[in-house]
């Protein structure tokens, strides 16, 4: 088993090495099936996914850049793509018996992300590992804890620790403006602090450690659903937009994938990922 992981790691490194060569091009191709309608394709249980053939994406533990996750627990997921002339929709599905959506110091959340070049050039793709200077990538990351906030409301300390007791919080005794000073990242609208608005974050990166939230410029939308021991996450994005990823041009783009299993303490760069770009074709 150890030997196998080692070989996989070697292959992952080889794939990255191959990727940095400008001659390299993504080979597997995913077709976006045309569906009817003109609204966002953000519902994982909608009928428009029916009959669309999924493509299996193989995932490897991320062992190239520290901190690493040498022991990945999920090695594949299924991806489907649809488009209706206005929006693209991606459905990501993987087996995960346990839902990890409550976060405490030693509990992490399930997450999945798609990566795309902001500007697609078939012959000059950005580094799949978070892009590179001058060749930014867009990352759409869905988080189970944010989905929980959106669906059921954010868990309180009492929800996380049913036996806890606390005398009083600043917002119970101070005027709202003053109490806001004690809300930290939440008061600063950090997107991980509250999923009420969206369970997904749209971010851009130009290399390691540069991943930045786009804030009000966010165009991606979607939802995740846990059913029958599987996560089903739909992500949607407009095909045409003034800002963000330019999808309509050229009729194709490249996709990268990453997955975090909260129960395995996957977080940040401790993840499983697809080390090669997948071509996504968007027939008009």
């Amino acid at each position: 088993m150890k030997v196998k992981t080692y070989i996989c790691n070697l292959l992952a490194v080889a794939a990255v090495t191959a990727f940095v060569s400008p001659l390299w091009a993504a080979d597997p191709v995913l077709m976006a099936t045309k569906v009817s309608g003109d609204g966002p394709l953000n519902d994982p249980s909608a009928s428009y996914w029916n009959g669309v053939k999924p493509m299996e994406v193989t995932l490897e533990p991320q062992t190239t850049v520290a901190p690493t996750q040498p022991n990945g627990t999920i090695d594949k997921m299924n991806v489907r793509a649809v488009q209706n002339g206005k929006y693209i929709g991606l459905l990501l599905e993987w087996k995960d018996a346990a839902v990890d959506h409550l976060m405490t110091t030693d509990h992490f959340g399930d997450q999945v992300a798609v990566e795309l070049p902001v500007t697609y050039n078939k012959d000059d793709l950005p580094n799949i590992m978070m892009g590179e200077s001058g060749k930014p990538v867009s990352v759409w990351q869905w988080r189970a804890p944010l989905q929980y906030d959106k669906d059921k409301g954010k868990p309180s300390t009492k929800d996380l620790y049913p036996n806890s007791h606390y005398d009083m919080y600043p917002d119970q005794i101070l005027p709202a403006e003053t109490a806001k000073l004690y809300t930290g990242a939440h008061g600063l609208q950090n997107p991980v602090s509250d999923g009420k608005k969206s369970a997904i974050m749209e971010m851009v990166a130009e290399g390691f450690g540069t991943l930045t939230f786009v804030g009000d410029q966010q165009l991606v939308d979607g939802n995740g659903l846990h059913k029958d021991g599987q996560w089903h996450v739909a992500l949607t994005y407009p095909l045409q937009s003034a800002t963000g990823v330019q999808l309509a041009k050229g009729g194709e783009t490249a996709l990268g994938f990453a997955l975090w299993e909260g129960g395995n303490k996957d977080v940040g760069s401790r993840k499983s990922w697809a080390p090669t770009w997948l071509t996504l074709q968007l027939p008009q």
Binding site: A66, P67, M103, T104, Y166, P170, G184, A185, H186, N190
Partner: protein, 375 residues
Amino acid sequence: MAKVYNWHLGREMEYPYEGVRPAKQFGMILDTNKCIACQTCTVACKTTWTPGRGQETMFWNNVESKPYGYYPLGWDVKILEKLGVQDTGGKVYQGKTLFDAAPDGERILGYLPEDADYAHPNIGEDDSAGLMSQGIHLTMPHMQWMYYLPRICNHCSYPACLASCSRNSIYKRPEDGIVLIDQTRCRGYRECVKGCPYKKPFFNTNTRTSEKCVGCYPAIESGRQTQCTITCIGKIRIQGFISPPDQAREDNPLDYVVHIAKVARPLYPQFGLEPNTYYIPPVHVPPPYLYQMFGAGVEQAMANYRKAKDDPKLLGALLLFGACREIIHHYKVDGKSATGFNEKGEELVQVPLVEPIHVRAAHDEKFQAYRTNIT
């Protein structure tokens, strides 16, 4: 990895970033001999910075009883065990730092505490190092020992939190060396919680980001010492700026106590972070225990502290602990008193080296009562 000079180790060491010293470095000295674990500092910090939702078990300042108190549970013994027995050498540390000991695929040797490790912030309070048998009576020196260790973030010269963060969300301010987590950039990966051996970044379950001691930076910016320092009723602390040893200024009380009188020591210098809070070691505790905790030089620190009365400059600096709210940048000692000055050279406070003694009659005529305390 870059090579940086760590004067606590007396040698260069590997660190993921270039070593750039700030214009001034936030520093603090704590006299463990004076701490009574009243937790006034803890409460001052808690009410100022962490009373909010998701911060329930978060203490940027805590006071634990040693050897059996820890917050979070077992923080130091766990990382010491992971690091293993090291050759501490003499003047130059020969062992591994936590950066040297990083396992493959990691930036540093660390561990993530469990949730329950934060459940008992004052565990081990007042537990002494060994048992006292039935019917025992006090002998000197004490048959058993324990002492109080107040802790804040060390605003390290080579912060492990900053080195561990894969999102570059942590920065060390060039003006005062205070280490902060950018709350708009942090995504709660908890790499800093895992990487900091002192376990001073905490995960906030409400914001889902990590938060840490901010060195009361708004106070520092207006020339005031931190909340934990100015509220300390035992006057065990002084907070100001500390220079590297080759730039030590004799008129800076922190430099004098640490570099010149050499009575204060960093906490676990072997970790390699060059922490900037210094401790005057408890003089009644067996040196081997303290050697592990404060490194080589601890015995000299204890000996020098015992002779403080013979060094008026040291005595003056020690008496300026807790003497005023403002940061003392300079001080001078004349025959009878020590005077502290701010950065502009304005006088802040004057303290007598020897308190005047008033002797009262043993019998109070007015109340017709005998006094038990006459001075």
